[in-house]
């Protein structure tokens, strides 16, 4: 029963996907032929603009801000692909439930971390200077101008996937966040005698701490 329902669901999705592809195809050869680099640039600039607009909403409470940020973040970043990358070699050896538990904790920690930094972005300006291709990805080279501080050079690694453009890595002054995080997580697993569960535990602890910082605990 369950199986047939699932299969029916899949068939429906397949039909819908086929239909939408048929409908979309003729249109895509038309005017929407923007270069991928321009598309990527527009995507990032738009995301930055929306972030600034959210920042300017002074009346938002802390939980509302985190909500708003979570939504912006979900649209902008492919957290799962990033999570898989930063898990490093252990990913392939982890069991399915471990993967699910890890990704859940990773996503929560990532979003809370960024959301708590939210206030720091006030007054910052993003200018995209150059774009360059790197395999499937496009690297958007930008400058972030910060009031009262030195501006920083930030490269955004973006890729177009089935859910549109997504950010996969942020490279600040030549240091990749994803690579640093992978080094971090690899060390955590090593310190736990190679057990993936050690990383999941550490991430859950981190989530707890971040929630307390965000005063989301009741």
């Amino acid at each position: 029963m369950l199986l047939t329902r699932r299969m029916a669901g899949r068939a429906l999705i397949a039909t819908a996907a086929a239909a939408s592809m048929l409908l979309a195809l003729p249109g895509s050869i038309g005017p929407a032929m923007a270069a991928p680099a321009d598309e990527a640039k527009a995507f990032l600039q738009e995301l930055a603009d929306r972030t600034i607009a959210t920042l300017n909403q002074k009346e938002l409470s802390q939980p509302q801000r985190i909500d708003a940020f979570r939504s912006l973040f979900s649209q902008g970043f492919d957290v799962r692909s990033i999570g898989q990358f930063v898990a490093g070699r252990s990913w392939t050896k982890a069991s399915e439930p471990q993967k699910v538990a890890y990704l859940q904790a990773f996503e929560d920690v990532t979003i809370l971390t960024w959301a708590l930094r939210f206030d720091q972005y006030a007054g910052e300006k993003l200018t995209i200077d150059r774009t360059r291709e790197d395999g499937k990805a496009i690297l958007l080279e930008s400058q972030i101008v910060r009031p009262g501080k030195d501006s920083i050079r930030v490269d955004w690694r973006v890729e177009k996937g089935p859910n549109g453009w997504k950010i996969l890595d942020i490279v600040a002054s030549g240091t990749s966040l994803a690579i640093a995080q992978r080094a971090d997580y690899t060390a955590v697993i090593q310190q736990n005698n190679g057990e993936f569960d050690g990383l999941i535990r550490a991430l859950r602890d981190k989530r707890q701490k971040l929630r307390q910082q965000a005063k989301l605990e009741n």
């Binding site: 499937k136 990749s176 971090d184």
Partner: protein, 298 residues
């Protein structure tokens, strides 16, 4: 004679003991071995020990002092001090620009030094950058050695100095000998000159890194391992003068956007929550059950 011989033998034995104790044993498991090689940190136990000491010292003294400096000294004054310190480094940077075969960058350094030392009131004002856009860049002997082909060998946590490697540590020593300004200080004084310069340089660097380092500590799980990666990446970037090296791997979108490990689960759950459509209702954070901070399709 006999006594000193015995003593040096004892010192050698002690040194050997410290080194052996400081060495990590390479793991046998292939994945663990690959991670071990990637970390390139055979002295990890010793390095972690020095890291703890450095960290404690930093939290007790350096960070608080740097914090006082940042709040107590107005920004324009701090910027002027940094400009002056950078200007004092210009002759050394010029040497390294040339040694690395970068005549254009050497020219920039030379022009900056000429302008800032004169119109810039002895380096206090960075007129070269403000008027002509001649931006500051740093170089050191570690970078020059790298350009000449020297690898980092392995990671090294220096007491007091922090993250390094044999190449860069050697570079610090080389620079202390060849830096023209250091030589001038030694010949003409004042005697407190080099010390004052070192203290100010450390103060300036630490005060400007307060927020960034706090952030790394707050967001990482293993602070030591994260700093190791950041230091290494930063050095590669400095050696390449900010140009992409292009040989690092990076995350990529998983082929079809679905989660392969959720195969067979109801289709709803296969849509990663991180990429839910824009129109999805805002998740509530505060009222969520203990183990989840958001509502997501189950």
């Amino acid at each position: 004679m006999k006594f000193s011989m015995k003593r040096s033998l004892r010192t050698a034995a002690l040194a050997a003991m410290v080194l052996t104790a400081g060495c990590a044993t390479p793991p046998t498991d292939p994945d663990a071995r690959a991670a071990y090689d990637e970390a390139n940190d055979p002295l990890e136990p010793m390095n972690r020990y020095f890291f703890e000491v450095n960290y404690a010292m930093d939290q007790l003294f350096f960070r608080p002092i740097a914090g006082m400096y940042r709040t107590g000294v107005p920004e324009p004054v701090r910027d002027a001090i940094r400009n002056m310190l950078r200007n004092l480094r210009a002759p050394l940077i010029f040497i390294h620009d040339l040694a690395q075969g970068e005549p254009h960058r050497a020219g920039v350094t030379l022009q900056r030094f000429a302008l800032n030392s004169t119109i810039g009131l002895g380096g206090l004002i960075d007129v070269a950058d403000e008027l002509l856009g001649l931006q500051y860049h740093d170089e050191d002997a570690g970078q020059t050695l790298a350009v000449w082909g020297a690898g980092e060998s392995f990671y090294l946590m220096l007491p007091f100095y922090g993250p390094s490697n044999p190449r860069d540590a050697g570079g610090i020593i080389i620079d202390s000998f060849i830096d023209p300004v250091s030589i001038l200080f030694r010949i003409y004084g004042p005697s407190y000159g080099p010390m004052a310069r070192s203290v100010l340089t450390a103060l300036d660097a630490r005060s400007r890194a307060i927020d960034a380092l706090d952030e790394v500590e707050r967001t990482s799980i293993d602070f030591y391992a994260t700093l190791r990666s950041l230091y290494r990446q930063r050095r590669i970037d400095e050696i390449n003068n900010g140009q992409p090296s292009g040989n690092q791997n990076a995350p990529t979108i998983m082929s079809d956007g679905s989660s392969p490990f959720l195969e067979g689960a109801p289709s709803q759950a296969r849509v990663p929550s991180a990429v839910t459509p824009v129109a999805a209702p805002m998740p509530t954070v505060r009222l969520a059950p203990k183990d989840q901070i958001s509502q997501r399709p189950q």
